[in-house]
Symmetry: C2
Subunit: 443 residues, 2 copies
């Protein structure tokens, strides 16, 4: 029996520090639970001098990645630098050297995951990716092991803590997007360049990973229809609240009975009595529907030093347990045999059916409502209700809010293109989809 498993971390930033802290401080606990010592042998970073706030033995710090790659005793290579390069090269080299890999790198997995999984399969090493989705939430283990008896045909989720934090504060305090974003940046909850988080790109990375795992099809980033939250105004949130909804940046992955896959990310109105609408602040939730188990939701911190470190160390222990018992490869990397996974047949977003919230910004003059209704009617979009409130103080623009019955996205886009070209329209029309959660949850 292997009595020590050697771990090397590359990337000593936020998550790297959390991971190292757990490995160093919980050494005894982990040894008991893994039935082997788990030894943090190397930490590699360009910066190995800045104090990370906890004691680190100096002889494990290095700036040279080859110290890890060339160490024949290193069992597990933990990549926490993020981004595509040099992370990809490092991981592929580590695999080539026969090292098991743990990574939180969702951008890399969503774009080059198959290349990495293929290299690992060929070499017979494991890839731990729990931390890439949902931070500390053990959602990938739940899917691959806990729900192993299920065909999981629906994956929903609030998968970006920054976007959810911003929406929550906009909802609770009525503040505009830009103001909350600025505060979030000051508090360190949002990056200097927040594009990935607020425009849904980070969520798309995670949805690509989760839906590939759940549906056993190659879901590419380009397959996912992605819309962010930056255009949402406090007015939209207050209308939504009044109508009984929360607005969330929802990731939707759904395999339909015809085996086409619907993968989308956009601001979504979720009824206030649905659990997902109650996931607030920087918290994330991943929501599965399985054909035996029904609905299962997992909730927790989707980011942060210690929660993400918790998921990284869980993967390290999982691999250590396999190493100790000589059962590497015990749980397949994907829910389907690797070579059986083909490209996905993606449902075109134009064919998606849902209800819509429109907010038109119009000049206050007669005939506007008739004109809008006429264009919608021409595209078979039937109006459920209209709210027109008085003109805001010192504004020439009046908001008209409309809820529709179910309509097809393609026709909605066509109608809005025509509406937005009218001279009485003062600003691009805001659209928010209202999902029928019951239909989404059907397995």
């Amino acid at each position: 029996m292997k009595d020590v498993v050697n771990v090397g971390i590359v990337g000593f930033g936020t998550v790297g520090s959390g991971t190292a802290k757990i490995l160093l401080e919980q050494r005894h606990l982990l040894e008991q639970r893994a039935s082997t010592a788990i030894n943090l042998k190397w930490i590699c970073d360009k910066d190995i001098t800045t104090d990370r706030g906890f004691p680190v033995p100096e002889n494990i710090l290095t700036t040279d990645i080859n110290t890890l790659l060339d160490d024949p005793e290193l069992d597990i290579f933990v990549e926490l630098i993020g981004g595509i390069e040099p992370a990809k090269t490092f991981i592929l080299k580590a695999i080539e050297k026969g090292k098991h890999v743990v990574t939180a790198n969702k951008a890399l997995l969503a774009t080059h995951g198959f290349e990495i999984f293929e290299a690992a399969a060929k070499k017979g090493v494991e890839i731990g990716i729990e931390a890439s989705v949902g931070g500390g939430i053990p959602c990938i283990k739940a899917l691959k092991e806990g729900l192993v008896a299920n065909n999981v045909n629906t994956v929903l989720g609030i998968m970006n803590g920054t976007a959810n934090y911003i929406l929550t504060r906009m909802t609770q305090e009525g503040l505009p997007f830009q103001e909350v974003l600025k505060q979030a940046q000051e508090l360190g909850y949002a990056e200097a360049d927040p594009t990935y988080d607020v425009e849904g790109i980070d969520t798309a990375h995670k949805l690509a990973i989760m839906s590939t795992l759940a549906f056993g099809k190659k879901i590419e980033l380009s397959d996912i229809y992605t819309e962010g939250i930056s255009k949402i105004e406090p007015m939209d949130i207050s209308f939504a609240t009044e109508l009984g909804y929360s607005i969330k940046l929802l990731a939707i992955g759904k395999k339909n009975s015809q085996e086409t896959i619907d993968v989308r990310i956009h601001p979504t109105m979720i009824p206030q009595d649905h659990l997902l609408s109650q996931v607030n602040g920087a918290f994330n939730a991943v929501y599965f529907v399985g054909d035996s188990v029904g609905k299962v939701m997992l909730y927790g911190m989707g980011a942060g030093q210690m929660p993400t470190g918790s998921a990284i160390v869980a993967d390290v222990v999982d691999i250590a347990r396999d190493l100790v018992r000589g059962c590497i490869g015990r749980v397949p990397a994907l829910s389907q045999p690797f070579d059986s996974i083909g490209p996905a047949s993606i449902k075109p977003v134009e064919s998606v059916l849902c209800k819509y919230y429109f907010r038109f910004s119009v000049k206050d003059k007669p005939g506007v409502l008739a004109k809008i209704s006429g264009i919608l009617g021409k595209e078979d979009i039937s109006i459920h209700s209209v709210v027109q409130k008085g003109r805001a103080h010192r504004s020439s623009s009046v908001p008209i809010v409309m809820l529709t019955h179910e309509a097809r996205e393609g026709q909605v886009k066509k109608a809005l293109k025509e509406i937005d070209s009218q001279d009485f329209i003062l600003d691009e029309t805001m659209i928010i989809r209202i999902e029928d959660m019951k239909a989404l949850e059907e397995s």
Copy 2:
């Protein structure tokens, strides 16, 4: 490599049928995922003639338990008859014969779990218990594997679907307990004898299992302070709603810094903006607080044929994966080495501090409030607010509702004993604890 894993089920009731259905109908899927065929070789029950609604090969049905116990080819013994005997004898015999065991039997695990774990450890076989808590929710795997990097010092949960269903309908429809219970029984959501579910006993079984796993201490049923929901009146629920709370039958397990353990089950007022207060109907939730990961909640169906079957089959696949790779015992049964687990030092319920809701049923006469306040004051129980509403139509009794500041349970009990012996008290005083969720969630 083992190319087939043989499974036998004893108990062909609701969960047994769900398990058999999945094993038979998802054979191909499971074989792919487990890297071995999983063969349902035997189903044993007293009744093997009633139609269970799906085709079952006749040659796998038997009424003789020894057919399973004596079959040298049987790898996994799935016990789904429930109750203490003969389940316990069957399981111990199966272990003695070297068979791995999967069980959903929370009553047995909560009372004789250690004897079973000990026998299994001695024989080198695995015991799968995922289905014993939270039905289809993979909460035990989450705790033992997903949160392996954490000291989990808090386990909270809504762990009984029947009780939660009743409370939810009482809340949403304002109906009395007895009426909802009767309807639940008619719908098959509650047993003919509902005592286990509504008096918190079933929840206590589950809390004993979860807190033993989480805290690494022997938690006995008798350690757990248990109070059910049968005394709650619609009036209590409407007061709670007005005050911004939901009433839930909450299981609380908390290891304190002094290593004493607080384990309690009672109706609890939870603020409406806490996620646990939004877990409605027959759904369950298990809520952990880990020292690295923070709060994690898992939500899903806590009972039912297919959800529980999903958890049973997950355990079967887990064991099959270990059998195929020859790594039985890969994940220890408990989070601490078996022989290091001692008895728990239980925090006496009398010393628990929390806020209280009291509903006094009093004769409408002068001086009553002064008398009650005086007795409470004598025990250092400080009143936060009082609501006294008019006398109900044709009732001689008037409810006085009081919320207290933090008080110690022992003093509350003493004060209430004195109050309830007063001649103006017409009925036993209703008490509901108001937990400080933030304090509970501190890790």
